[in-house]
Structure formats: C-alpha cells, structure tokens
Symmetry: C2
Subunit: 337 residues, 2 copies
C-alpha cells in the first residue's frame, strides 16, 4: 500500500520532511478494523511528533503519523462485534500505533464510530480528534451536569482553532453554559460567532475584555492554546469552585497555590489517554463518536472543516503541516484521498 | 461574654499564647444566628492561624479563633428563615469572622445545620469542619457519581486524622468505592478499620504496600497530610483519568506535567471557600450538614470524637492546640463548655 512518512525530524520545507513509500498492508487481529482511509485530518499533534520523533537520528523505516480519519471497513479481527466490512467509519486512533497517513490503517473498534451519514469523508475526518477532546474535557474531566450547571459560564481559549470550534458547539448545544471564546482577528472572531459563541473576546488584555461583557469571572476555562502564558490571568478570572481544563502546558511548573483559597480544580485532557493505557472505559470513545455522528446528522452540530486538500500526496501533507505550524488556521484542514 | 483569644502569635507553651477576656456579646443581623456555644472542636487550621495571625506584632484587641462548634440558637437576624430561637445547631463557620472560642458567636444560617439529635454537643461539634471538607471533596470537587463510580477505588492519605476519619465513613457509606487508608501506628490503623476502611496501608513505601493488597493504582486520592511530600508517588499510583484532591500543599510548586499523559485531575478543597466568597451555592453547606445529621442519627455515620476536654478554659484550649500540633491525634478533640 502507499504510505507517507519520515525517517528524520526535518523542517517541513525540506525535501525529505515527508517521503512517499510502499508499506505492507496490515492484517486485522482481535478488536482491529482494517480501514481503507478516505480522508485524513491534520492537528498540532502531527507536527509536534514530526518535529521530535527522529531528531538527530535516521529511522530504519519511515514513521507513519496522522491520527484523525474517515474511511471504509475492509476487514475485521476475530473479536470485532460492532462493525462489519463495508461500514463507513471515523476515528482519531491510537498514538502508540501506526497512523492514518497511509491507504490502510488498523484501529481498535472500541475507539471508532460510525461516520455521520450526511457528511462527506472529508467533513467527517475533521471531527474525531477535536470532538473527542472537547467532549471528554466537558463531560469526563469537568463532569459538567447540563441541568445543575446550566447557569454557569465557560471561557474557551483559542475558540477558532480545531478543538475550540467544536468545543464552542458542544458547550452551546449540550449544556446551558454561557460560552465565551477568545479570538483576535476579525475572521476568527466571526467564525467563533458562527460556531455559536455567546461572546467573543480578544485575548490581549483578557481581564478587561471580560469586565466589558459583564463576565469578570467564569466558572470553567478550557485552554486550547498555552496555559502557562495565561496562568496568572486564569487564576484571577476563575470563579471560586471553578474548573480549568487544559490540553497544553509546558515544562515550566504552574503555580497551583494561586487556586487554593478558591477550591479550584485543574484537569489535563489528552484524548489518547484511553487508548494509550487501554482503560476499562476505552469504548467510551465509540459511544462519544456515535453520539456526535447523531448530532451532526440531525444538524445540531456542524463540521468544522474549512480547508480540503485534494489528493493523498507528499505535497498536500507538507502544506497541511505548514498551515498547522503557523498557528493561524481557522477550523480544520483535511486531506481527501 | 467570656472569650479566649490572643494578641500575639506565641508558642503554645507560653503564658500568653491564649488569654481569657471579656468581649461584647454580638448582635445578630440579616442571615445571622446568635449561637450560645456549648462545644468547640479544634483543627489544624486553628494552630496555623494562631501561629501566623500576629507574628512580630501585638494586636489591639485579642483575636478570637475556633471554627467548629455546636450550640443553641439564642437570637436571629431579620432575614433568618431556617432556624428559630432554641434550635440546637452545629456548624464550622466562616474564617473571615470571629470564631467559636467564645460564649456566643454569630454565624450565617446558610452554613449551619440542625445538630444530630442523637449526639451530645461534644460529639456533634467534632463533625462540621471535617465532614464538610470530606463531603465537598468527594461530591463537589471529584463529583463522584455513586452509581457510575461504584467499582472504583479511593486512597485516603492520613486516614486516622480528623478529616480522614469522616472521609473513610462517607466514602464507604455513600459510594461503592473501595476505600484504602494510610496509617502507620497500630492504634491509628485499628481506628481506620473501625471507621470502615477496606484496606489500611503504611505510608512508608506506599507503592509496595499498595502492590501487596492488589491495588497498585487507584482512581482517586484524597490528601489530608502533605501533598508535596507524596507528589511523585501520587503521580505514579494514580490511574489514568484519576482525580486527586488535596487540602494541604506548600509554596513549593507541584510538577503537574507528571499527570498529563494520564489526563488526571487535581482539586483543592477548602471548606471555607463558600463562606469566604459568599458563593451562589453557599447554602449547600446547610444541606450537607443536615444530610450528615440524618446519617448520624440513623447510625450510618458515627462521630469521630475521641477526646473531650471538660470546660471552656485557657488551659484546655492550650492542651487542644498542643495535641493538634503534635500531628499524632486520632479522630477529633473537643472542648465542652
């Protein structure tokens, strides 16, 4: 099968930052589905792994990354019960296994959902990684109770990015939360409004912007950009008994004691945790993806796809990485096979 | 009225570490109850505040501390609706107001519960601060769902202390969690078993002790002793998607990034947060104390009182502080007026 990978961590502009090669078509065992990949979405995790998986070394065989896809089930392992050959599926996958930058990929059925019927392969591929991240952050980390928490508010840092775009929608449609998103450019601000945000604020001088809209403090903060850069502001604007969830963070330690008198909670969210540790509730991702497919099909949610690159080529993959590295993309970028 | 306080932060062994004096009987306004204090419990927060509230200075008038009491309502403010004169009540109170080391004290009715009828004033006074802390930690910070989380496990660090003793009971009786408590001396280990712990482990070489009982990792950790000292072990033994709640912590920052790949959550619990910030849900403490009173009266919970000092005297208050400062007390120490 055709695959695209890398043997060295190189700047994306270099010739060999990605190379095309022939790989063996894998064989599904146990819970595995063999999926014929039809579309593949690129996220920040892709360029981060490309930049660090082979620094100062040359791998023996190319590494296949990419963990966000839609496709068709071509074969199944002997323990598979939820899917059959021919099913259209979508999934983020498992960081510890070979990725979706290939014509075929193995993925555990417990982290796969049925693709939303009303969506194209490209529009569906835009959803899994970011959707799982936002859904888990809201309901498995903060444990939001849509009824009990309906009068509360959430601030989404980087509302126009991939995760932010779907987080705005999920918070708005599945909870009664007042949704405030940060965005700084006119086009990204408009996008946040289109996604359903009640308020859009500029992240420069965030405190003053929040004062201006009458939400000086918020109950929940979802950080999708850089928690360390915002820490002191976050500690100031979070309400007593509030909850912060972050997918970022650096090696620099966070001064947690700023949150103590307010009894604040802090969660990390990594949507790969369940598959990485094969947790008892790993099939929660099967449930979440199916739930989001229903919401997409009934029109409650809309895809966050903004850019489709046509053709599974080295050139398109490089272009998608370059866009992610810029940090300025709105919504999601997908490569259509 | 008679009161006991201090004008200087002094070692407890010094003559003037506590002094008796005459104070004006306060007047209840708005939501306040004027309570005739009948019993008063001492917690670590007492000696911490005594040690730091007047260091290197002499206050103009003595500071009255003590925030854990039972007594009788003697008068009410004009907005009071839940209590009447003559009601027997118990409460922890509000750190920003004058404490219960006095014959009379004002306390907001929204953070007061009806005293368990079956308990003496002393046995009731042992409950509020620790009970609110443990209850809020389980249900408001971790947000344990007794049904969904019934197969999970909780490790309680310092199970024989005041908060640990009631936390063991609440976790055991109100959730299906497997309860593991730490204690190092034979008497404190026996006490944890009496409180209902499924397992008691020594905190020296905690990891090996947990391996021995077949719970190498746990879903939840409640820290009531010193989170900084345990941090690396805590990061190792917490399960993916686990939740840590702590009432301790020092100025030394915690390395949160150890928890990232496991998507772990961390909460501070301070039972004074609600009263300190007059949160919208401040009356949750009224509900919790009434709920615990029911559980105590029906025998589901038992008081954690172990030592009763008879008489509201400087000598007894000094003795109670000395016991708390030792860090070796089991259960709770109460002064009966």
């Amino acid at each position: 099968m055709k695959a695209i990978g890398f043997k060295q961590s190189l700047p994306i502009t270099e010739e060999n930052s990605f190379i095309e090669f022939e790989a063996e078509k894998p064989d599904p065992k146990a819970y595995d589905l063999l999926v014929s990949v039809k579309a593949n979405s690129v996220n920040p995790v892709d360029f981060k792994i490309r930049q660090m998986a082979a620094t100062g070394t040359v791998l023996d065989s190319p590494k296949i990354i990419g963990w966000d896809a839609a496709g068709v089930v071509e074969a199944v392992g002997d323990k598979v019960t939820s899917f059959k050959v021919g099913d259209e599926v979508y999934y983020a996958g498992d960081l510890t296994r070979s990725g979706s930058n290939a014509e075929y990929q193995l993925v555990d059925e417990r982290i796969v959902g049925l693709k939303p019927q009303s969506l194209s392969m490209a529009a569906a591929a835009a959803i899994p990684l970011t959707g799982l991240t936002a859904y888990e952050a809201l309901f498995d980390r903060i444990r939001i109770d849509p009824e009990k928490d309906k009068d509360k508010s959430v601030l989404i840092l980087a509302g126009a990015g991939g995760v932010g775009s779907i987080a705005i929608q999920l918070a708005k449609k599945l909870t009664g939360l007042t949704v405030i998103a940060t965005a700084s450019r006119p086009d990204s601000q408009q996008w946040c409004t289109d996604m359903g945000a009640d308020f859009v604020v500029n992240h420069y001088d965030l405190k003053a912007e929040l004062d201006k809209i009458g939400h000086s403090q918020v109950d929940y903060i979802m950080d999708f950009v850089d928690i360390n850069a915002y820490w002191e502001t976050v500690a100031e604007i979070i309400k007593p008994q509030g909850h912060i969830v972050s997918i970022t963070g650096s090696d620099e330690p966070l001064n947690l004691s700023l949150l103590k008198s307010k009894s604040v909670s802090f969660s990390w969210e990594l949507m790969y945790t369940r598959s990485m540790f094969t947790t008892d509730d790993i099939d929660r991702q099967h449930f979440i993806l199916n739930h989001m497919a229903e919401l997409l099909d009934e029109g409650t949610l809309k895809t966050t796809l903004t850019t489709t690159l046509d053709g599974f080529t080295v050139e398109n993959l490089k272009k998608a990485h370059q866009m992610q590295e810029s940090g300025k993309t709105i919504g999601k970028t997908v490569i259509q096979f």
